[in-house]
Each structure stands twice: as structure tokens, then as C-alpha cells.
Amino acid sequence: MKMSKLNVGVIGSGNIGSDLLVKITRSQHLECKIFCGRNLESPGMQFAQQKEVNVSDRSIDALIEQTDLDIIFDATSAETHFENLSKLESTGALIIDMTPAKTGFLCVPDINLEEAVKERNVNMITCGGQASVPIALAICKGLQDLPKYIETISTIASLSAGTGTRDSLDEYIKTTQLALKKFSGVKNTKALINLNPATPPINMSTTVMVETEETHLTQVTIEVQKCVDRLQRYIPGIHIKVHPVYDDRRSAVVTTIGVTGMGDYLPSYAGNLDIINCAGIMVAESYAKSRNNEDI
């Protein structure tokens, strides 16, 4: 039986929204009905118009007038998400929140995809969260004892960070820390983020540091490799840059992951867009599949 596509709306026409649009357009399960922002002249809006997508500069108002939406991607900022939340909920559509506002169910597809598609408001944490949480869990799995502390640091290219990202750094930190804590069960977590303006732009990189006395890393190395292999199924550009090493100075296991983007909207350095957007699309497509099964 041929599957019917679910109707999707996107609010937020920045880097995240525009990259999502490309991925939605490519999807066999999703169709973009409306792409909303505030300014028809912005690069994202121009991009969407070239793709002949229905656009509006009336932001949330245009979005809620579109009554046939099954899924809404919120690609604004944490602050705007809070402002719009009740309106978004009133649509009855599945909300997939790409901002770090964490009003919804925290989702890392590798960990809890099946539960996520049963929710009505799913939060995709942060780009650094999508990279660090599964890796941190893999490290914990490879250790004998639950560690006391996990830290993650992500460095992204300045050009890949739009206004929404730049305005949400505090929320980025808090949401990433919360997700690390929630999924690992480790009480103390810390997240840090750098924006590096180097030219040519640097690829996204995420380091995870897990404080432990255990220095034998055979099992940790196996678990991290298995984890990255799984993540590659929905984030093709993810790879290990530094295999787990024991850092004596920090008394910690350290590993670094890189993400090369697919170059959908911004060039391939913007792996930070890909990692969170691939995760968001994964939720949307799985939701579409589950809906279709019900129809049958």
C-alpha cells in the first residue's frame, strides 16, 4: 500500500528551519505545507521561495491558520518557543521542538524513539546533546561503575549559528546538562559551547569527558564504536575523531566525535544542523510510519 505523506509546517526560517526544509522535501513520508518566518527577504525565506514552498512572513499566526498540519517543527529560539507554546499546542499537531526550550519530551532517537512518537510535544534537546548523550551512555556502559560526573564540549562554526542559536546559549547549556543527567543517571553534568569563526569554517566537533578511576578502556572503545555505527544510520556524517583515551591530567575518559554535514542548506561544516535535524526528521518519519500502520 502506498503511504500518504503527513502535512508538515515549519516555523523559524533560520539555518535550522531552512536545513529542515531540504530534509522534509526529500522525505517520502513528509510534505511541507507551510514555511513561516518574519521576513520574506531573509536568506531562509528566499531559499524556500526558490523551492516553491508555500511561505508566510506572519510567523505563528500563519502557522495556526494552516489547519491541516500533522506535524509542526519549531525552529525558532527557546524564548520564542515559550511565547508560542499555547498556540502551537492548540493546533493538535505533533510538535517537534528544535529549540532548547525543553517544554516537551526529551528525545534522542537512538535511545527513546518509540516512546517519543507517542508524545504530542517532543524536544530535540540541542545539537551538542544529540551528539554527546548517546556517546556518554556508551562510555558509561563500557565502565564497571556509574561515574560521578560527565562533561561535554561542542565547538561549532560561527557561520552555522544563527540568531536563534546565539540567543539561546543559556538554554543550550541547561538543556544539554539536563539531558545528560536524565539519560545517564549521573548526577553531575556540565555542558560548554564554543563558536569558532575560523575560515575555512571548522566542522562541528563534540567531546565527551567522563570522570572515572577506570583506565582500562577496551569495553568503552567497543561501546563507543557500536554507538557511532548506530548513529550513522540516521546521521550519515557522524564519526570518531579521537577514540576513547584515558587522560591522566583530568582523571577522565575523553573521546571526540565529529559531524560532517550533508550540505543541504549550509555547506558540510554545519554538522550541528544535521545532527539535530536528522534526529528531528527521524521522529517525524517514525510518527508518520506509526500513523500509517494504524490506518491499515
Partner: protein, 339 residues
């Protein structure tokens, strides 16, 4: 007639100095230092983790005390000088600022990498809305053009800062360039400018005087130059040089010199200037990388100079300490391969 500015002196000993002792500044050091620095005429005393409040971490180094503990101790002993903090968004949050204000902080410097001023907007606005004295800081200024810096200064001015400090975090500037830049920003952004020097090339005092010549109104310094890598402009040398230059300020030279002696006893550290600091300055690598580069060079048995040049080529910024491991591993592999 040119208006005579009274130079403000911003003491970073208890913040930048944190890097020199792996962030293990003690309560006794803070207590004694604050008692004496308060007598010197220094205007601001910055206290907290080396990368600013909220930055205590495995990546950069854990503080022996929390930022709030450090600030509370300093608060008790500062009466004339204002208590200040450094914060970099991406590391510290507005919640951290709120806690620091509660601990009695008088003024805040919100800093970012030299081209990323817009990440400071929310934090600066939070402070200016509360009528807290707020400064801006642009770090690693050797990585931006004068025009880029002008644009960034205008943004920070817009958000509400009263003065912007240019941080030569890598100690890569030379005097003529400092004067030209400060003058350019003063004239075009129409805002007060401060300067924060590092001594990699032995130019921290020269660059500070050059900043005065360009019209700077605030200078960073630390006692004995106690700071990351090669250290900062030493307060005692700066005070003496400013006296000779008749630069108007409120420092009391005898008290500063007393403090210099006390500082030598208080902060006796293992950081001796070496050629790696010069390499680091030439390569344009952030001073705070000095200790982690030394550690990685030892762990992977590679020449630290090679690490510095590669980090400089990659335009690494403060906070990318994780990249040091990656670079050291790569150099180590390549060296073995050649053998």
C-alpha cells in the same frame, strides 16, 4: 586641548592568575591579596575561575573553590575597589551572574571571542536593565580585522556596555598596532576602550602604554604579571611606567610596590617564562593553553612547538582545550609514521 582621562586600573590577578596555578587559588590568597590591593588605588578587582564564572570544568580545570566562595571572601576584604567578574556566554549563564550579584559583585565584564559579540546581548541587557555596571570584552583580538572589531564594538555598545576591553589573549600584538587599533575604535565606535595585555613577547607594558597613547581609558594588570601563559602586564611595572609617562591614575606607587612583594610570597608558582611562551605568542595561540599543551606534549611525546603552530594554523580559540589532545595525537602518529 585634549581631555585628560583618569586611567582606570582593572586587576585580573585573582582571575587570569587562576590559570597559572591550575585554578587552585586558595581562600587565604584571596583574603590577603584583597586586603592589600584595596590600599593601592586599583579601581576594579576581578575574581573567579580563569575563563570566568561558571567555567570550572574538566576541560579547562576545576577551581579549588567555587566562584561564589571566591567572591564572598573577596567581598569581605574589598572596600574601595569594586568587585568584578568575567563571564563568557557558552560557559556561564545569567543564573550564574544572578548568584554572583547576590554575593556582592559590583561590576561585570561580559566577554566573547572577538567576532561573536552577539552572544553577549542577553547577558549585557540583563545587567544594564538592573543598573549594574557592565563592561564588554573581546578576546583573541589578533584574529579579527580592525573593521570587524569596530562592528563588534558597536554591537556591544548597543547592548549597553560603557567600556569595551580588547583582550590580546595570545600576546600577539605590538605597540604601534595597539595604538592604531585603540584610536580607530575610540574615534569610530565612540566608546571607551580598555586593553588587556599578555607578555609572550615581553610587550605587555609597552602595549599597555601604547593603548593609553591611542586613547584607552582602562587597563588590565596583575601583580607580578600573574596570569595565563607568559602572564599579563605586571601591575607594579605598569604603575611605575605610568608614573614616568605622567598618565593620570589613582594608583599609589609605594602601596603597589608593597603589594608586588606580597604577591611574590602569595603566588609563588612554577610558571617561569620560557621559549614556548614566545612560540605561543607568535603562533597566536590563546595563553590559557600553556599548561594543557605542556601536558599533552608530555603524554604523547611530541614537541610542544609543533602543537602550538598547528593550533595557531587551526585558529583554535579559548575553550577548545579538547582539540589539543586531537592535535597531539595526530602529530605523534605522523612522527612515528616518518620513523
Amino acid at each position: 586641548m585634549q581631555r585628560v582621562e583618569i586611567m582606570k586600573i582593572y586587576d585580573v590577578t585573582l582571575r587570569d592568575g587562576s590559570h597559572a596555578v591550575d585554578h587552585k587559588i586558595t581562600s587565604d590568597q584571596i583574603c590577603k591579596y584583597c586586603k592589600h590591593v584595596d590600599l593601592t588605588g586599583v579601581d576594579y578587582v576581578e575574581v573567579g575561575h580563569g575563563i570566568g564564572i561558571g567555567a570550572s570544568s574538566l576541560l579547562i580545570g576545576r577551581g579549588a573553590l567555587t566562584d561564589i566562595e571566591m567572591l564572598r571572601i573577596a567581598r569581605r576584604h574589598l572596600h574601595r575597589a569594586k568587585l568584578s567578574i568575567h563571564i563568557v556566554p557558552g560557559y556561564g549563564t545569567i543564573d550564574d551572574i544572578a548568584e554572583a550579584l547576590e554575593a556582592g559583585v559590583d561590576s561585570v565584564r561580559v566577554a566573547s571571542h572577538c567576532t561573536e559579540a552577539d552572544i553577549t546581548k542577553k547577558h549585557i541587557k540583563y545587567l544594564s536593565n538592573r543598573n549594574v555596571e557592565v563592561f564588554g570584552g573581546l578576546m583573541m583580538i589578533h584574529l579579527a580585522t580592525d573593521e570587524q572589531l569596530l562592528d563588534q564594538c558597536k554591537r556591544m555598545k548597543d547592548y549597553g556596555v560603557k567600556c569595551i576591553t580588547l583582550l590580546d589573549s595570545a600576546g600577539n600584538f605590538t605597540p604601534a598596532r595597539v595604538t592604531k587599533l585603540v584610536k580607530f575604535l575610540r574615534e569610530n565606535a565612540k566608546i571607551e576602550i580598555g586593553f588587556h595585555a599578555h607578555d609572550n613577547l615581553g610587550l605587555s607594558i609597552g602595549n599597555s602604554l601604547a593603548a593609553i597613547a591611542g586613547g584607552a581609558t582602562m587597563l588590565d594588570a596583575s601583580i607580578n604579571g600573574f596570569g595565563a601563559g607568559a602572564g599579563n602586564a605586571s601591575l607594579e611595572n605598569l604603575a611605575a611606567a605610568m608614573e614616568l609617562e605622567c598618565a593620570s591614575n589613582e594608583l599609589k606607587l609605594p602601596s603597589v610596590l608593597d603589594l608586588a612583594t606580597i604577591g611574590q610570597q602569595l603566588f609563588a608558582s612554577d610558571s617561569v617564562k620560557n621559549t614556548n611562551d614566545i612560540i605561543s605568542g607568535l603562533a597566536g595561540v590563546v595563553s590559557v593553553f600553556a599548561k594543557p599543551v605542556t601536558a599533552a606534549a608530555r603524554q604523547y611525546q611530541v614537541d610542544p612547538k609543533e602543537i602550538y603552530f598547528e593550533l595557531g594554523r587551526l585558529k583554535a580559540i579559548a575553550g577548545q582545550e579538547d582539540l589539543i589532545i586531537e592535535v597531539a595525537q595526530r602529530i605523534s602518529r605522523n612522527t612515528k609514521h616518518k620513523k
